[in-house]
C-alpha cells in the first residue's frame, strides 16, 4: 500500500500523533479498537487487514470503538444484531457493511436499528476512513 496514503489516512483519523510530541508515533495518539462481524472468511480477512494497516486493533473481548456489521448472516442478521447491541447499551460506532440491497426499506430498517453509518461492499480503505471520521466526531 502507498505509505503516503496510509500515513495520511492514519493522521486523518487520529491514530498517529499530529503534535509531534510523540515523534509522530502511534503511542501518543488515539488508540481505536474494532470488531469485524461477518460470516464470510474472505471479508473477515480483508476488513481485518484494512483495520490493521490503519493501526486499529481487531479484538474479540474488549469494549469496541467500532463495529463493522455485515447484514446477511445465517443465525442472526445484522439488523437484529445491531438492535440487540443497542438494547444492551453498546455505544460503539456501528457501521453496516453490506452488498447493495435491492430493498431500500431493508437498508432503512438497518439504519433505524442503530447504525451510525452504512457502506456498500466491497469495503475499501477510503470508505473505512470515512466511517472512522464519524468516530472522531462522536468522541
Amino acid at each position: 500500500m502507498s505509505s503516503t496514503n496510509t500515513e495520511n489516512w492514519m493522521k486523518d483519523i487520529g491514530v498517529v500523533d499530529l503534535t509531534g510530541v510523540g515523534g509522530g508515533s502511534t503511542s501518543a495518539a488515539t488508540k481505536i479498537t474494532a470488531l469485524v462481524v461477518d460470516d464470510d472468511s474472505v471479508n473477515q480477512t480483508i476488513h481485518s487487514k484494512m483495520l490493521e494497516n490503519l493501526g486499529i486493533q481487531n479484538q474479540v473481548e474488549t469494549i469496541f470503538d467500532l463495529i463493522l456489521m455485515d447484514m446477511d448472516m445465517p443465525v442472526m442478521n445484522g439488523i437484529e444484531a445491531t438492535r440487540k447491541l443497542r438494547e444492551m447499551g453498546v455505544r460503539s460506532i456501528i457501521a453496516g457493511v453490506s452488498t447493495c440491497t435491492r430493498d431500500e426499506r431493508e437498508q432503512k430498517e438497518f439504519m433505524e436499528a442503530g447504525l451510525d453509518d452504512f457502506q456498500e461492499k466491497p469495503l475499501t480503505t477510503p470508505k473505512l476512513v470515512s466511517i472512522l471520521h464519524k468516530l472522531n466526531k462522536k468522541c
Binding site: D40, V42, I46, D72, K121
Partner: protein, 175 residues
C-alpha cells in the same frame, strides 16, 4: 537480470489483460495495496480462502439445484419435474449465491460477481409457474462454475509468475 526484467514485464502485461478482459476489477488493486512487508503473502492467502469458499458454495448450489434429477423417472415427465421443482429451496440457493457474490466482489473477480447478480435475479423468479426458473438457475450455475474456473486459472497463473520473479531474485512491480 534480463530474464527478471522480461518476467516483470510479462506480469505487468498479464495483469493489465486480466483487467481489460473484465476478469478483475479495481477491488483487486485494493487487495494488492493491503499487502505489505508484515504480510507479504496476503493476496495469495485471501485468494486461497476465496477458492476454498467458492468450491464449497458451488457444491452446495449443485446439491440444492439438482434435486429433481435424483428421480430418473421424472426425466421424461415434465409434470413430475414441475412438482419436484417446488421442493427446491430457492431461498437457500439465493443465500449461497449472495455469499458467492460478496466474496467474489471483495477480491475483484468481476465476471463471477456479474453472473451471481443475474443468478440472484432468477432466484427471485421462484414464484413463476413452470420449470423455467429452475432451468435458468441451472444455466446460471453452469456459468458461475465456468467463470470461476476461468478466473481461478488466471489467478494461479499470476501467482506462478510472481513466484518465478521472486525465485529469479527480482521484486514484484508496483501496482
Amino acid at each position: 537480470m534480463d530474464g527478471v526484467v522480461q518476467l516483470q514485464k510479462q506480469l505487468v502485461d498479464y495483469i493489465a489483460s486480466l483487467f481489460h478482459e473484465g476478469f478483475l476489477d479495481e477491488q483487486f488493486n485494493q487487495l494488492q495495496q493491503l499487502q505489505d512487508e508484515s504480510n507479504p503473502d496476503f493476496v495469495v492467502e485471501v485468494v486461497s480462502l476465496f477458492f476454498e469458499d467458492s468450491e464449497r458454495l458451488l457444491n452446495e448450489l449443485a446439491k440444492a439445484l439438482w434435486v429433481p434429477f435424483r428421480s430418473s423417472s421424472s426425466f421424461f415427465n415434465p409434470n413430475i419435474l414441475f412438482r419436484e421443482q417446488e421442493t427446491i429451496d430457492f431461498r437457500k440457493v439465493d443465500a449461497h449465491v449472495h455469499q458467492f457474490k460478496g466474496s467474489s466482489s471483495s477480491i475483484g473477480a468481476h465476471r463471477v460477481q456479474n453472473v451471481c447478480i443475474t443468478f440472484r435475479n432468477y432466484c427471485e423468479e421462484q414464484n413463476v409457474e413452470g420449470v423455467e426458473p429452475w432451468h435458468r438457475c441451472l444455466k446460471c450455475l453452469q456459468q458461475v462454475k465456468h467463470e470461476y474456473s476461468l478466473v481461478r486459472n488466471k489467478l494461479e497463473t499470476l501467482f506462478q509468475l510472481e513466484k518465478q520473479i521472486i525465485a529469479a531474485g527480482g521484486s514484484l512491480p508496483a501496482t
